[in-house]
Symmetry: C2
């Protein structure tokens, strides 16, 4: 049986209050003698406060909830890992909820985390196929009154603290790189275009084309999901449109294209240039190494954690909207158009 504060109190011959004051270092005068007695009892009984009880009375749990689409995706895996490590140093624990990008599950986790009295929530996607669903989530977020930070996949709203990467710029950088290499028919392999991430990247793509007086061809946009399968499906479709390069909206999609290129006996970048987004660890290892637009994960995590700590201190602090810049990593999957 776990020792309680009463057990400690009894063992030390003092009251529970005294024990509480001592273990929490409250600014209350305590005689040297009792302090020692209590500390000894704590040691001997291996006493540790029950965090449920502590949470109930203090109304803080030193826990934050992290809601993300898929921790299997290396980008989110790294992000959540970094967040966890940084928060642990502040004695804050992380509960994770994977939503598969599903609005219902997102709401479920919002409620669950709220029921558990987390001190804050980090939300990595609030933006769904169905606008109505998105609205429901927003409403819920508003009603559960917990500090919240949006990260990475940010909806268009200014009522929350947010940390994001400039998604348009991602599209712009990727497309510009391909244009610089002389490509003009550039396919896009995207996730659902109803999602902000994707539409923003696509917008960046269009901007880059227009700057060079090129007209974006809507047939060059293939939409599915941000996964390997998308790449596999996109390749034949886009080849049919005679593209010489593909802008994959993330590295996973690019991997799918790599895989399918083998079936078509196409060489990258000889027959097709490919550029991705995220700069997953393996993109440097895959053959040929993948040119990609990196999102500064560590920096994101830094800002998110900093923001969360601020928000926990001063709940109605003025919201910041951090926007970070992506970085183009040129490797060997893109080359001059012939």
């Amino acid at each position: 049986m776990r020792a309680t504060i009463k057990d400690v109190a009894k063992a030390a011959g003092v009251s529970p209050s005294t024990v509480s004051f001592i273990i929490n270092n409250k600014p209350v005068p305590i005689s040297k003698d009792t302090r020692e007695k209590v500390m000894r009892a704590v040691e001997e009984l291996h006493y540790r406060p029950n965090q449920l009880a502590v949470g109930l009375v203090t109304n803080t749990t030193n826990t934050i909830g992290l809601i993300l689409p898929d921790s299997t995706n290396p980008f989110f895996a790294t992000l959540s890992n970094q967040i966890e490590i940084k928060l642990r140093q502040k004695n804050i624990n992380v509960i994770i909820g994977n939503t598969s990008g599903n609005a219902k599950i997102t709401r479920e986790y919002l409620r669950i985390f709220s029921d558990r009295c987390v001190d804050g929530i980090i939300l990595a996607q609030l933006d769904f196929e169905d606008e109505e669903e998105t609205a429901k989530c927003q409403k819920l977020i508003h009603s559960i009154d917990i500090p919240i930070i949006y990260v990475d996949r940010v909806a268009d709203e200014r009522n929350h603290y947010s940390v994001e990467v400039d998604q348009k710029l991602i599209g712009y950088l990727a497309t510009n790189h391909l244009l610089d290499l002389g490509h003009t028919r550039i396919g896009c392999a995207s996730g659902s275009i109803n999602l902000n991430v994707n539409s923003s990247r696509y917008e960046g793509y269009r901007t880059a084309l227009k700057e060079r007086k090129l007209t974006p061809d809507p047939n060059l946009l293939f939409c599915d999901s941000l996964s390997i399968e998308c790449g596999i499906k996109a390749l034949p479709d886009l080849l049919g449109q005679n593209v010489t390069a593909i802008f994959a909206f993330n590295d996973m999609i690019a991997y799918g294209i790599y895989k399918e290129c083998r079936n078509y006996n196409l060489s990258i970048p000889g027959d097709l240039s490919v550029i991705g987004v995220d700069n997953i660890v393996l993109s440097d290892i895959i053959q040929p190494p993948l040119t990609t637009v990196a999102q500064p994960v560590t920096q994101i995590a830094d800002y998110v954690v900093k923001g969360m700590l601020d928000l926990m201190k001063i709940p109605n602090i003025e919201f910041e909207h951090v926007k970070l810049n992506p970085i183009l990593k040129v490797r060997a999957s893109t080359m001059q158009a012939v």
Copy 2:
């Protein structure tokens, strides 16, 4: 402000007990009328029970803690993802602790999870460099009296429920495959040999060699960590020993070897056969597709979840020790020795 059970009781004109009985479907007679009044009040106030309070009195939190070395590693990412999804269906949440394979952090998480009254702990590594540290962990586990399941990286002990993959068989299968192809000087790129996973795999390797009357050469064992870096370091070392094939103790190590082979202008499998362990998603996409020994992640997760649910129902149920078989996936990174 969140509504409490008292608020609901007041709104419905009944006592808190009545509300509690109703929302928890207790086998207590309740008039149709009050039931309706209460349900209406619950709806209107958006009442949801505070889980801290519930946990405090019921002594269950519907939470389990998952302790693993590194959720960034795709194998563990998939494992934890699967576990989370399956447990969510039983209304159980998962708290994750990443330890980086560090015994101190492991103990810290054990204590934290215990403080939070998790209903069970799934522990994916209990086996460290330093035996003393391992012992300390064991002792701690014993003292916090919470259902626990060991998974994947299991220490040599029979006092706990465990789910693991036959690690010796992994080594044996990998080595046998290379031997079948005519390789005889086979290097090993391993994580620390003091860890059970690695020593077992190495033992399987030795067994396979001996079965063919070959003497294992200790110089062919390179030890570092189960990461890309290990592969990068291992390659020059093992090439110095004139190996024709390398058994990488996981796929990440194999990726490191792939990467480094480019610097040495070596072709896989032409100049060097490589086999990995884990069958990470990307191993099928990397060029050449990696031959590897797969661990049945989904099955592991199934057994772990099943075991945990059993254990939560009957804490002193007889311990099971599930041992699953690995599966050899032959792809294109291994070929006949010349």
